[in-house]
């Protein structure tokens, strides 16, 4: 199954793969012929002192060598093209599939594991594939040809090779069989090592402030010790390969020498009566070729077994299907910014005991500003994530512009519903490039306008390079509040019908936040605005405020209404009013 799936990724490189095989076969044929020519050159040329013959055979040999070189080079070239191309297709298929992932797919696979699959695993498979198309063809054909020729020379002596093949084969099989499970374990431990390092890198401030350097070292050393132990064990088993091969080769040589000598002597050195000395030499050459081929086969097997784990991981990623798909005839325009939740139940896990959102009914009119408050874990984010269909409901339905979100074309829907995520990301590139994510073709004026609205223009201008300032990966060279404002500007550039701010101003100071809110209200009145916030001040002037509690809507209303009706709201308000957070 895995192999079949992988094979389907060869695609346009099938031709190169097949060509490799053809060139390899031709090369092998010449490699079989060349020792024969060399034997002749010695037997009839040098031993007889026949210069004409030497020149004749020499020319033939030269030609064969040149041809073999050409075929060999072609085989190498097409093998490289095929395997590098194959790897390219694998990476592409995986990456494209990741782009199709829904949020729940992304939640399931960690970033690190996706990256390893796209890099290390592909390299493993690429190497294995190159080996397979070059050696897997070469070795068996070489073996068959060599056996055939040696049987032609002397059948009885060739039986020795035939006997040694299963012996070596069985030995190699045993080695691989025992080493494989250890290798698999080693790769698992490698994952552990990688995640230990990456956690350490990310948490270095924590490590340092708790002075846990030694603790981290010990943790790391335990893992690297595991790798050491397992890798040594596996490689020590593999280390039997070479000696075993040598043992078989030497044994064959001695046996062929002994029996060969007796046959030669019995036949008086006459090829017709048995065997000539030149033939004995050829036989041994072929013996080495046969055993080397077997060795190659075993190497290919090792490569395949090692890369099998990688292949499985690749296929797992290409086969992972997005659980969010466009329906058959998707709607490609959104009428307005109306939102309606009708009896919505939702949970992240398929069959969770407890629903994350429990029977939500909520209707929002186009252009309304809705604030959402609620304690940590009350499912505020879960609620709004259903609007741009980042997840699908378990039951009930969510409509935007009067149509079920599942009936929209995903891209259409998400272009109209801009969401600023709680955990937002900027990408390496200039500020302008990052902002253009919202809209490819935006003019500079519009760009500045959006940044003014998000209160980002001023600080951008204060940078020496302004909008061309280069952001590091993850936007580490701007502060948290600046990052949030850039993210808001980016979302505004989409000119969405619905704008969702999921705790997107938590690092922005209150004054600036108030300015942003005011700007949004004045400048994009037609856009439905949903604001999740911790601070009551962030939502106090909203048309309506939704109070969430433990996956349910606890109360809806304006500030004044809620002050009367909702004890939770009152509590929150008072805790903050005391702190002077709310003062408009």
């Amino acid at each position: 199954m895995i192999i079949k799936k992988l094979m389907s990724c060869i695609r346009q490189y099938k031709k190169d793969s097949l060509l490799t095989a053809v060139y390899v076969v031709l090369e092998v044929v010449l490699e079989i012929i060349i020792p024969l020519l060399m034997a002749n050159l010695i037997d009839f040329g040098i031993d007889q002192g026949n210069m004409t013959y030497i020149l004749k055979m020499g020319t033939a040999l030269l030609l064969s060598a040149l041809l073999s070189l050409v075929f060999g080079a072609f085989a190498g070239k097409s093998a490289a093209t095929a395997s590098a191309g194959f790897a390219r297709n694998l990476r592409r298929d995986m990456y494209y599939n990741v782009q199709n992932f829904s949020f729940s797919n992304i939640d399931k696979l960690s970033t690190a594991s996706i990256v390893t699959r796209l890099t290390t695993d592909v390299t493993n498979v690429q190497l294995a594939y190159q080996m397979v198309i070059r050696l897997a063809v070469r070795a068996p054909i070489m073996m068959i040809f060599a056996l055939a020729v040696s049987f032609g020379i002397n059948a009885r002596l060739s039986l020795i090779f035939l006997a040694s093949v299963p012996l070596l084969g069985a030995g190699l099989y045993l080695i691989i069989k025992n080493a494989y499970p250890i290798f698999i374990r080693v790769f698992k431990t490698y994952d552990k090592l990688n995640s230990a390092v990456s956690e350490n890198l990310r948490g270095i401030r924590v490590v340092k402030s708790f002075t846990r350097e030694d603790f981290e070292k010990k943790k790391f050393e335990a893992i690297s010790g595991e790798i050491y132990a397992d890798f040594s064990k596996a490689e020590k088993l593999i280390a039997f390969n070479m000696p075993l091969m040598q043992f078989c080769m030497y044994a064959c040589m001695l046996l062929v020498s002994w029996f060969g000598a007796r046959i030669i002597v019995a036949g008086g050195g006459n090829p017709d009566a048995g065997l000539s000395t030149g033939q004995l030499l050829s036989l041994i050459t072929y013996a080495i070729q046969i055993l080397t081929s077997l060795m190659m086969i075993s190497m290919v097997l090792v490569m395949i077994t090692i890369s099998r784990a990688s292949a499985a991981r690749i296929v797992e990623l290409t086969n992972e299907e997005s659980d969010l798909k466009n329906c058959a005839n998707p709607v490609t325009s959104v009428q307005n910014g109306d939102i309606c939740f009708e009896g919505v139940n939702f949970s992240y896990a398929k069959n969770a005991d407890k629903l994350c959102l429990d029977n939500i009914n909520l209707s929002i009119k186009s252009g309304e500003t809705i604030g959402i408050l609620g304690s940590t874990g009350s499912a505020k984010t879960s609620l709004v994530q259903l609007i741009p269909r980042l997840y699908d409901v378990v039951s009930g339905r969510v409509t935007v512009g009067g149509i079920d979100v599942r009936e929209y074309d995903l891209e259409t829907l998400r272009n109209e519903v801009a969401m600023v995520l709680q955990k937002n990301v900027l990408f390496s590139g200039t500020i302008k490039e990052n902002l253009r994510w919202g809209n490819e073709n935006v003019s500079d004026e519009e760009l500045i306008q959006a940044c003014r609205l998000a209160r980002a223009h001023d600080f951008i201008q204060s940078f020496p390079n302004g909008y061309e300032t280069h952001l590091e990966q993850g936007g580490t060279n701007v502060s948290g509040g600046q990052k949030q404002r850039l993210c808001i500007a980016r979302a505004l550039l989409k000119k969405p019908k619905i704008l969702i701010l999921d705790d997107s101003t938590s690092a922005v100071d209150i004054r600036t936040e108030a300015l942003i809110r005011y700007g949004l209200k004045e400048n994009i009145p037609g856009t439905t605005k949903i604001v999740i916030a911790q601070r009551v001040s962030s939502v106090i002037d909203a048309d309506r405020i939704v109070v969430m509690d433990d996956g349910k809507i606890s109360a809806i209303g304006t500030h004044d209404e809620l002050m009367q009706r909702s004890s939770i709201y009152r509590e929150v308000y008072e805790s903050q009013a005391k702190g002077g957070v709310i003062n408009e």
Partner: protein, 635 residues
């Protein structure tokens, strides 16, 4: 991925890198010598085995052919003798292969451990300026190429060299003229080979660079995958990926193409050499040219030419092998260079000699003790040999401190502040005003440019960093958790804490209730940086982690920013008891979090512009008042 490009190895291999790698072998001196001996034996046996055939034919079979009653006992003897030699060879091969595994894996473990342990000592600045992907690749790609070199390339190259030398002398022994011919041919051959190998290497380097480029891109994109989805940016993300992917494919194809071509060229040039030798030898024999061997002058014999031809075959094979390994060696050395570069990065400087010790009062005088008394003291060895003890209180004073991350871009100007024992000091101000920077100076993540910071009256530069940080508890806005159980994560604050103490800390931070809701309570394993938890829950855990550490000074940098105010109000009670009898530095946007502070410092562009209590600042109607009431500004 700015670190990728400058690592292109020079044309000449870096000898210091090689020397340094060799120094790792020192620990395995005996075993490595054993390996070398075994390789010599193994190589010698394989040369002997190739020569044996000629002997077999010339000295045994041919004479037997003339004997009327052939006596095979001589042949039997030589075959048994050869059997023994071969056995020795096989065993030598087995030994060196297995022992080499030990050496290689041992060295790799040592390098990995050293690398990691050195990484722990690097200043925060280093982590700011290097991407994680780059650092990770030292542990994966670079270490892997080293492994290949140690286990495969080094033994093979050495064995090949031994064979080459042995065969070379054997050839000289037979004929100087023909050897000369071989040398000339090989010289031309290596010229061709090195041209190709060079091409190949160039592309391998390019391949490595494009791998780095692609990896970095993938990592960044996958990390921001959710943002890509929200912005429907998939098409763009694919386009750039395709470019980088095709670029890698292109370089990989070229690199492998040249590498793959090497072997057939070597092999077939070997055949061409063979023909040349046969023709030259034949001509010499027929013309009756005088041959010069190491043993002296003689005539060119046909047997000699046959032997020589045989030798030339053995000669080519190891040369081909060496040339094949060159690439992986070059790549491994480039990897090693990168690894060593990391190991050579300057550690955080730590000239501190003042350490933190447990203390007790004995007759009113403070002395050092091993018991846990709850009392800590700074142990201060003076220049004159006298050791003084200062009680750890948690007083922090800044005197005219200036600081900048980059030169000429000052972040803090002339900061002077006193934090007395048990006080709560708050920093407020716009983002980028320098609040976090101040706290980063207290724990010496960065060192000040000018001014003085004193901790309990001691210049903080004199305090050992580890001890300084041990006395400070940090709760940061971005919470980092580690793979392990919830309990393990809390215990990170104090490895000696009992389960009960950890749970008590969790209760204090109000984390207990949500932890108990997790599938396995405190034993729930968090993985992937605790990705299953909300930002607020993570902050609660982080507070519990600091609580269990029980330090005299706490730094809370937006520690509760993602916790809703209702929960915060509950946490606040715990926080209050946590803050009791401690010096606390608080950074928060939410002014409710800080208004009961003893001193509030308002920062603007790296300067303290206002300071005082909440009431005092409100009365002043300055910046704080504006922040507090949300008035002022351009609106």
């Amino acid at each position: 991925m700015s670190e990728q490009s400058p690592n292109i190895p020079k044309r000449k291999m870096n000898t210091t890198t090689i020397k340094r790698l060799l120094s790792y072998l020192r620990a395995y001196k005996v075993r490595f010598i054993f390996v070398l001996v075994c390789i010599v034996i193994s190589a010698a046996v394989s040369v002997v085995s190739s020569l044996f055939l000629q002997t077999l034919i010339d000295d045994y079979i041919t004479p037997l052919l003339i004997e009327a009653v052939p006596d095979f006992s001589g042949l039997l003897h030589i075959i048994i003798l050869m059997g023994f030699i071969y056995l020795v060879g096989v065993l030598a091969t087995l030994f060196y292969n297995r022992v080499m595994v030990d050496i290689a894996q041992g060295i790799l473990k040592k390098i990995r451990d050293q690398m990691f342990s050195h990484m722990q000592t690097l200043p925060i600045e280093y982590y700011d300026t290097h991407t994680h992907g780059d650092l990770m690749s030292h542990y994966t790609n670079d270490a892997d190429t080293l492994r290949q070199m140690l286990t495969i390339s080094i033994p093979q190259v050495f064995s090949s060299l031994v064979t080459i030398i042995a065969v070379f002398f054997a050839m000289l022994y037979l004929s100087v003229w023909l050897t000369l011919l071989v040398v000339i041919t090989i010289f031309i051959m290596t010229k061709v080979i090195s041209k190709i190998a060079n091409k190949s290497r160039q592309y391998f380097i390019k391949q490595q660079a494009s791998i780095g480029d692609l990896n970095g891109y993938i990592e960044e994109m996958v990390n921001g995958q959710k943002v890509i989805k929200v912005f429907c940016h998939e098409k763009k993300a694919k386009e750039t990926f395709d470019l980088k992917n095709d670029n890698l494919c292109d370089n990989a194809t070229k690199a492998n193409k040249y590498a793959n071509i090497l072997m057939p060229i070597m092999n077939n040039l070997g055949y061409i050499l063979y023909v040349l030798l046969a023709v030259a030898g034949g001509a010499m024999a027929i013309a009756g040219v005088t041959n010069i061997g190491l043993t002296g002058k003689n005539f060119v014999s046909l047997g000699m030419i046959a032997s020589f031809l045989q030798l030339s075959r053995i000669f080519i094979h190891p040369i081909a092998q060496v040339s094949q390994q060159i690439n992986s060696i070059v790549m491994a050395l480039a990897g090693a260079e990168r690894i060593f570069k990391l190991m050579d990065e300057k550690s955080e400087t730590d000239d501190g000699h003042v350490t933190l010790v447990k203390a007790k009062y004995e007759n009113g005088i403070m002395t050092e003790t091993n018991e846990s008394t709850g009392l800590w003291a700074w142990k201060h060895p003076q220049a004159d040999g006298i050791v003084t003890y200062t009680k750890l209180k948690g007083e922090v004073r800044f005197y005219n401190v200036d600081f900048s991350y980059e030169e000429n871009k000052p972040v803090l100007h002339d900061i002077t502040l006193y934090a007395e024992f048990g006080q709560k000091i708050a920093f407020v101000g716009a983002t980028g005003a320098g609040k976090t920077t101040i706290t980063n100076l207290i724990n010496r993540f960065y060192d000040i440019a000018d001014g003085k910071i004193r901790y309990d009256g001691i210049n903080i530069n004199k305090i050992k960093k580890a001890d300084l940080r041990r006395s400070l508890g940090m709760v940061l806005q971005d919470v980092n958790l580690f793979t392990g159980t919830v309990l393990d994560n809390i215990r990170y604050g104090n490895l000696a804490a009992s389960d009960d103490e950890c749970i008590a800390a969790a209760k204090l931070a109000n984390a207990d209730s949500f932890i108990r809701m997790l599938p396995r309570g405190y034993a729930t394993v968090l993985s992937g940086d605790g990705s299953g938890l909300s930002q607020g829950q993570r902050q609660l855990l982080s507070i519990a982690r600091a609580a269990v550490a029980d330090p005299p000074v706490m730094i809370l940098d937006e520690a509760t920013s993602s916790i809703d105010t209702r929960t915060e109000a509950i946490v606040q009670r715990g926080m209050d008891s946590l803050m009791q009898d401690r010096t606390v530095f608080v950074i928060a946007h939410r002014l409710s979090t800080i208004q009961n502070s003893d001193v509030i410092m308002v920062l603007e562009q790296g300067r303290i512009i206002e300071r005082g209590s909440h009431e005092k600042l409100l009365n002043e109607k300055g910046k704080y008042y504006q922040l507090y009431t949300g008035t002022g500004g351009q609106a």
